[in-house]
């Protein structure tokens, strides 16, 4: 994904795929009642497209379930823990296909899985609320940070526009 694009929330018309925006229904967000922050970024990615490790690291597979064992929420996902500029960073990639995910030691550029519809993405796609995308979360030393900080492409965090393409 050399120059990724932010996935929109099609029904509302807002750039819901950006990190840190009050674009989700919740309790409160930046003092505004009824909203919650979107804690990751949604990058457009067609079904079946490969997803690559962004950094060297250790990959771990996981699946989110409800109480009856149905795949839910993040669905089939892969988290990769890396050391970036001396800091401990964990990047998590949501909504993958179950098969062909990779665990263990990975190198930047390795395929770690393929775009799926797992978790709550399926219902959103069924109802045309968004387009196929990978949701990426980032945690720096355990704290939530903007995943855009770790892309080779520079994307304006407030508009979602590419300001410096991947070299």
């Amino acid at each position: 994904m050399p120059n990724p694009e932010i996935a929109p929330q099609t029904n509302s018309g807002i750039d819901g795929g950006l990190h840190g925006t009050c674009t989700r229904t919740g309790t409160t967000c930046n003092g505004v009642l009824g909203l919650k922050v979107h804690d990751g970024v949604d990058l457009k990615n067609p079904y079946g497209a490969p997803i690559y490790a962004m950094y060297d690291g250790i990959a771990r597979l996981a699946t989110q379930y409800d109480d009856e064992g149905n795949v839910d929420g993040a669905g089939y996902h892969v988290s990769i823990t890396s050391t970036i500029n001396g800091q401990n960073v964990r990047l998590v990639f949501f909504h993958l296909q179950e098969s062909n995910r990779v665990s263990g030691e990975v190198k930047a550029g390795d395929i770690i899985g393929y775009q799926g519809t797992s978790g709550n993405l399926k219902a959103a796609l069924d109802q045309k609320l968004t387009v196929s995308h990978v949701h990426i979360k980032a945690r720096l030393n355990g704290q939530m940070v903007n995943p855009l900080n770790y892309l080779a492409t520079t994307i304006d965090p407030s508009t979602g526009q590419v300001t410096k393409p991947c070299q």
């Binding site: 919740g26 993040a74 949501f94 709550n120 959103a124 609320l129 968004t130």
Partner: protein, 172 residues
């Protein structure tokens, strides 16, 4: 001229068919969705607090941490309903409902003044003119919060019997 009308018609039909067939809810309508007598507003208000959730759903409500996701999660369930909360901040004090599943017909769901439960015919919605009863993708009647377009109440309909076979709430 006829060609222009034809092109406009095709474009219009194309645009319409691409748009999701959803019933939009104002914030008030959305927060007034009821699971039996409990409103979504009340559920949000608990922020996943165990005692407050039991006060709403009864002392038979069980709870357990859901550790399968990448964020802090908390499950609540009894024989009739399942509710999952997540705290994306991972601080433990910002739990918000992300998934609700109605398990049986003892839980009725009210939206826009219409009350439905598992096993009801989809025609329960047709009597309310405020609701677009178009059955959308995968035979569902879906309601979305107009404010963000990120939370769905979905009634899944059986193609043959036209009965409601699944009721779920998802906040993305």
């Amino acid at each position: 001229m006829k060609k222009i009308y034809l092109i406009i018609t095709i474009l219009f039909v194309g645009l319409y068919s691409c748009k999701a067939q959803l019933n939009e809810l104002t914030q008030t309508e959305f927060l007034n969705i009821k699971f039996s007598n409990v409103t979504l507003d009340q559920i949000y208000g608990t922020e996943g607090d165990i005692n407050q959730m039991k006060a709403l759903f009864g002392n038979d409500l069980l709870t357990e941490a859901n550790t399968t996701g990448p964020s802090l999660g908390r499950d609540f369930w009894n024989n009739n309903i399942y509710l999952n909360f997540e705290d994306d901040s991972n601080t433990g004090n910002q739990y918000s409902p992300t998934n609700i599943l109605v398990k049986n017909a003892s839980v009725s769901v009210t939206v826009k003044g219409v009350t439905a439960k598992l096993g009801d015919d989809k025609s329960v919605f047709a009597n309310n003119k405020a609701i677009n009863t178009h059955v959308g993708s995968n035979n569902t009647i879906a309601f979305i919060d107009k404010l963000t377009g990120s939370a769905l109440l979905i009634f899944k309909i059986d193609e043959i019997s036209n009965k409601i076979i699944e009721i779920t709430f998802n906040a993305f």
